[in-house]
């Protein structure tokens, strides 16, 4: 075990090295590029024994690792924004074929206008692809979550791809101390991936990707839906195991509750903004005011039961979204919280689109607004005159 000072993209690369991944296929895109550059360096230096495929597009990158994962190789790719959008049709194939791929998405806004900075529109747009979606708060959580992601994905009761989402620039290009677990410990923890369901092997041919006629298709989709719902248990279990072995946990693995006791006002958020929210909460506590936070770490499967329980005493619920469901005037998390919680005041705040800073004063503005608000509303925060 040692502590290094590193940026988010490198923390992701370190996790891939520690997870002893077999195949990496990727195409460069800001702000992800450095992650796969670093992995290429590890392979070139002999620090990671893996096959690196320089794909001609993200569509090809994800296609290539679908092939490698189907042979039983531990497979990884990383992308951002337009790159993730280009992968779109193949993401459904990864989950449909039940392949435990780990994909790191460094969150970046979608065009147009072209913008390389952070928001969650890219990954939220892939919400229904059947991927497990995890969102992280800091660089340590990047490393831990990617290692956990392989454990979750490869579990015989899950067998699904996992998307680990980290905020572009805010995490990807920011240096923080990160504890690296020992290589041997991670190796022992993850073991060698041996596909329990099927693998491509010339000596034992199987048909992967046959046509699913109407007679079978619905059952196959239901099986996928059951698998992602059941993964809740495994995500919790992995979080606990990880704490035992490596000393760190993230709430119950699905959500993290922060200062909920005595808090009438509770914010719900995902990703790096949770750090800023916690900072504001700490300061308000010193002034004698309790505000809480529910950090949604696992966005899909959506932890309805856990969120319901966490928000049962809240009077003012403020949901922060770095994405917009155009035409519904809400963000995706706002919609989900509204669908989960009935008979409570829930206000939705659209924040930080395209890298717009979310400052302490914005969080305070949100707290004030939700407390004064008489009804459920949506408000864009930090918006200039236009």
């Amino acid at each position: 075990m040692k502590t290094i000072i590193t940026r988010g993209t490198y923390a992701a690369a370190e996790a891939v090295r520690l997870a002893d991944v077999d195949v990496v296929a990727a195409y460069p895109i800001t702000p992800q590029t450095e992650c796969v550059e670093k992995i290429a360096e590890f392979i070139a230096n002999g620090e990671l024994n893996a096959e690196y495929i320089k794909a001609e597009s993200e569509h090809s990158a994800i296609s290539a690792i679908i092939g490698s994962s189907a042979t039983g190789a531990r497979s990884f790719t990383a992308t951002s924004s337009q790159g993730l959008a280009l992968m779109h049709e193949i993401l459904y194939i990864a989950s449909g074929l039940r392949l435990p791929i780990v994909l790191v998405n460094v969150n970046r806004a979608l065009s147009a206008p072209i913008n390389i900075w952070c928001d969650h529109q890219d990954s939220i747009s892939e919400r229904d692809t059947g991927f497990i979606q995890l969102y992280v708060e800091d660089n340590q959580e990047i490393l831990d979550t990617i290692i956990q992601a392989f454990k979750i994905a490869e579990d015989k009761d899950v067998l699904l791809p996992v998307m680990v989402n980290l905020d572009g620039f805010i995490l990807s290009h920011t240096y923080e101390p990160v504890v690296l677990p020992d290589e041997e410990d991670v190796k022992e923890y993850l073991g060698v991936y041996e596909p329990p369901h099927y693998s491509l092997n010339p000596d034992k041919p199987v048909t992967v990707g046959p046509v699913g006629v109407p007679k079978y298709y619905m059952e196959i989709r239901k099986q996928l839906n059951d698998a992602i719902n059941n993964s809740v248990k495994i995500i919790k279990k992995v979080n606990k195991e990880y704490k035992k072995l490596f000393g760190r946990e993230y709430g119950d693995g699905l959500i993290e509750c922060y200062n909920l006791d005595n808090a009438d006002t509770v914010l719900v958020a995902m990703g790096s903004v949770c750090g800023t929210v916690k900072h504001v909460i700490n300061n308000l506590k010193k002034e004698g005011k309790d505000v809480g936070l529910v950090k949604v770490r696992c966005y899909r499967p959506f932890p309805k039961k856990e969120i319901k329980k966490a928000l049962k005493d809240a009077e003012n619920i403020a949901v922060l979204d770095k994405n917009v469901c155009f035409g519904f005037d809400m963000g995706s998390l706002g919609l989900d919280i509204n669908a989960t919680i009935k008979d409570k005041k829930i206000c939705n705040y659209i924040v930080g689109l395209g890298g717009r800073d979310i400052k302490i004063e914005h969080i305070k503005e949100i707290i004030n607004h939700v407390e004064k608000s008489k009804e459920n509303t949506t408000k864009w925060i930090g918006l200039n005159k236009y």
């Binding site: 449909g96 074929l97 369901h197 099927y198 048909t207 006629v213 059952e219 196959i220």
Partner: protein, 52 residues
């Protein structure tokens, strides 16, 4: 019944899958009357009709 990922382990088991559920008529071939016009060849699924 369905495998994880809908993978098929048994080669050639498509013959067990009863197809043709969409059909309303069942054509009956009368070799005696056949003039080899090949209309059936165009309309029938591959490889239902062989020239000889």
């Amino acid at each position: 019944m369905v495998t994880i990922g809908a993978v098929i382990f048994e080669p050639g088991n498509a013959v067990k899958n009863k197809t043709g559920g969409w059909r309303t008529f069942r054509p009956i071939l009368d070799i005696e009357k056949c003039i080899k016009c090949e209309i059936c060849y165009i309309f029938c699924p591959e490889p239902a009709i062989y020239e000889d």
